[in-house]
């Protein structure tokens, strides 16, 4: 045993335990304080994901811009020129790009975070930290791609005769809502993926279907009024339409936005609880 003065150097033991581990409790807390303590880890893991993703690539971060840009070109040719899709009078390329920004973010972030726990299984079985950090870091890393891709707006908007007007500021809360919703889907599918490996096959398929249920290649006005409610159940459609309203300085649909925001927040809360409940098994079954 160490000499008493050395223990004094460490300070008195706290009166309350710093950590209490209780076996057999059913519903866990959200562990937000723990998450805050580990915020630097979130940063480091996101930073690692970005660094590693563009190592040994020729084009590097240009991929973040190329992907939505090339998709835009293909969509413009197919749906803009050939199918003559209505766009509420906007130029199809910008109309499509504004929607692809949040959508591409959603697809890559959900894809990365759903496989993030399995990809990091060596961490999960060897060291403790709030597990939510892992899918959250995958989403955060995709935010950087979104930032690169959004920078293209600065080039494209003047090209189509649009100034960098104040409604663009709405992109900040819109991105926040998209992040919440994406993190919710990402964290939930990551947790499910640990237990049921089917998720890996089901998820890309589900996302593909969801793309047609989101106004990306078509405007909301394209959908008959009596079916609009179905679109509004999808938080991404409100966010996508919000992106377009911001880019074209149109009137925002506040009611739809409020619904999308609250659904994103509610789903994020629900996903966090489900994740916390499932995470107790991670180290044993991953």
């Amino acid at each position: 045993m160490a000499a008493p003065d050395l223990i004094a150097a460490l300070g008195e033991l706290p009166a309350e335990p710093l950590i209490t581990i209780d076996g057999g409790r059913r519903w866990p807390s959200l562990g937000l304080r723990d998450l805050w303590t580990y915020r630097e880890l979130l940063y480091f893991l996101a930073w690692r994901d970005i660094k590693v993703r563009y190592k040994q690539t020729v084009l590097g971060a240009a991929w973040a811009i190329l992907q939505p840009l090339l998709t835009m070109v293909v969509f413009t040719l197919l749906f803009g020129r050939l199918a003559r899709m209505p766009t509420d009078g906007e130029p199809y390329p910008l109309f499509c790009y504004a929607a692809l920004l949040p959508w591409n973010f959603f697809v890559t972030a959900v894809g990365n975070s759903s496989s993030s726990l399995i990809a990091n299984n060596s961490l999960i079985t060897k060291v403790y930290f709030p597990r939510l950090v892992i899918p959250a870091a995958a989403v955060a890393a995709s935010l950087v791609d979104l930032a690169f891709a959004s920078a293209m707006l600065v080039v494209m908007m003047p090209w189509y005769g649009l100034g960098l007007h104040p409604p663009l500021l709405m992109l900040v809360p819109l991105v926040a809502a998209a992040t919440l919703f994406t993190a919710a889907v990402g964290a939930w599918s990551a947790a499910m993926n640990v237990k049921y490996r089917d998720v890996r096959y089901a998820l890309p398929f589900a996302i593909q279907i969801l793309m047609f249920l989101t106004p990306i290649i078509y405007p909301v006005s394209f959908v008959p009024a009596r079916w609009r409610w179905a679109l509004e159940l999808n938080p991404m459609s409100g966010i996508v339409e919000g992106f377009r309203d911001a880019v074209f300085a149109r009137q925002f649909h506040w009611q739809t936005l409020a619904l999308s925001f609250s659904m994103a927040a509610g789903l994020a809360l629900l996903a966090a609880f489900i994740f916390r409940r499932m995470e107790r098994e991670f180290a044993d079954i991953i």
């Binding site: 160490a2 950590i19 057999g24 660094k51 049921y196």
Partner: protein
């Protein structure tokens, strides 16, 4: 004094087989639809099937103890005794099924060297990443950065991706990061099993230093000498139970004498505490005998030792047996494998008896243990460590009545000695055939 760690009646159960195949959503969905159908038609066969409980083992059962600040605890026990599970629970990697733990300090765990290292990133980047994963603050890592680099002795490679590092450099860097953690409670698992001897010594020194700074250390190792050197107190686990707790010397002595009690020369392996997790139960028994075929757990130095392993399997396979002889410190001395030594058994079989004969046992007097591993040449099917122990009795192998003192060496080997005076020596150096001549002597 108040304890820094309180563990009360902690238990942990593992479901066997859950690791082997992942649950499929499909099965769950199918079960949902089948249940009402089964209930409606009352199919007896299926309802019986449902009642079968999956097999489980208690990795820990009702474990309670307290630790005072500044104590350095060694944790020993056979494979599967629950040592690693305890560390995983204390470090919050996994949750106990029941029980309660109170920790009055921050916990840092080193269950592996290089946790969170990424091959593509440079040494510098990995120090920050791994430090953050182990629970260090960015500012703290930046402050200790130079110290870490110096400890790892990799100054000139700090900006090279670690995938280009030699395994020694990689290990040194990984341990250097871990060694600079400053939690009040440090949990360490088998970490010293890697790295070269000099670096192992350095790590042991660093850990001793950590303990002297009043931190509480948990140390799990099969390396009994390092437990003895570092720890003040020792916990002995057996099949999930805490069976002994006390001063390190007393516990180690009791472990070596009682836990590894002298075997009778024959030991059934169907149920054995040393069987590796996940191994299938194929080896049935092991028997030791001498040249005269008499079963005995004692063998004279230089005599013949025969290790016979009987096996039974449901599928036929081409058996490959590996026999490892270890001393009581767990150091592997001899590893014999029928494939390596050119004794291929080409016939596939379901059962049989393989005998491995060590013609002249080169071991010094003392206690030794045998690890067995049976495979099919591609993978290991069954492995049992410390399957059986035996005693080597002194014998006058040199014909001089003298032997190296106990503990001074591990094996004896026939050696020839010659002496030459200075002029003869110089002649030998000059003559090209000198070497050959020496060898022929």
């Amino acid at each position: 004094m108040r304890p820094i760690i309180k563990v009360e009646k902690v238990s942990k159960r593992y479901w066997l087989g859950s690791r082997a195949h992942y649950a499929m959503l499909r099965d769950r969905i199918a079960a949902c639809y089948m249940r009402p159908l089964r209930a409606a038609f009352g199919r007896v066969g299926h309802s019986e099937q449902r009642k079968v409980e999956p097999a489980s083992i208690w990795a820990l059962k009702d474990v309670s103890f307290e630790v005072q600040p500044g104590e350095v605890l060694g944790i020993i026990g056979r494979n599967g005794a629950g040592k690693s599970t305890l560390l995983k629970i204390l470090s919050r990697i996994t949750e106990p099924a029941s029980g309660r733990i109170e920790l009055y300090g921050r916990v840092g765990s080193l269950l592996e060297v290089g946790t969170g290292f990424h091959g593509e990133l440079s040494g510098r980047e990995n120090i920050f990443l791994s430090g953050a994963i182990l629970g260090m603050r960015k500012a703290e890592i930046a402050r200790k950065f130079d110290e870490i680099v110096a400890f790892a002795e990799i100054e000139q490679f700090i900006d090279t991706p670690v995938k280009h590092f030699s395994s020694g450099m990689y290990t040194r860097l990984a341990f250097a990061v871990a060694a600079h953690l400053e939690p009040e409670i440090l949990l360490v698992d088998e970490i010293l099993a890697v790295g070269d001897l000099a670096f192992q010594k350095k790590c042991l020194g660093k850990m001793g230093e950590v303990a002297r700074h009043g931190r509480t250390v948990f140390f799990v190792s099969h390396n009994l000498p390092s437990i003895e050197a570092l720890c003040s107190r020792c916990l002995l686990f057996n099949r999930g139970h805490l069976v002994d707790d006390g001063k390190v010397n007393e516990i180690l002595l009791r472990y070596m004498t009682a836990e590894l009690q002298p075997d009778s020369g024959s030991c059934p392996l169907t149920v054995h505490g040393g069987r590796r997790h996940g191994s299938s139960q194929i080896m049935a028994s092991v028997t030791l005998s001498g040249a005269n075929r008499k079963i005995s757990a004692a063998c004279k130095m230089g005599d013949c030792l025969k290790v016979s392993v009987s096996f039974e399997s449901e599928q036929s396979f081409t058996p490959v047996l590996s026999v490892t002889v270890k001393n009581m410190h767990g150091l592997a001395l001899i590893r014999a494998n029928n494939q390596f030594t050119g004794f291929d058994f080409s016939q596939r079989q379901k059962h049989g008896l393989i005998t491995c004969s060590f013609k002249k046992l080169p071991l010094l007097p003392g206690r030794y243990a045998i690890d067995l591993s049976l495979g099919d040449g591609f993978r290991e099917l069954d492995a049992v460590s410390d399957a059986i122990t035996f005693e080597v009795l002194p014998a006058d192998v040199f014909g001089t009545g003298k032997l190296p003192p106990p503990g001074s060496a591990v094996v004896v080997w026939p050696a020839h000695f010659t002496i030459a005076n200075r002029t003869q020596f110089e002649e030998m150096e000059m003559a090209p055939a000198g070497e050959q001549q020496l060898a022929e002597d």
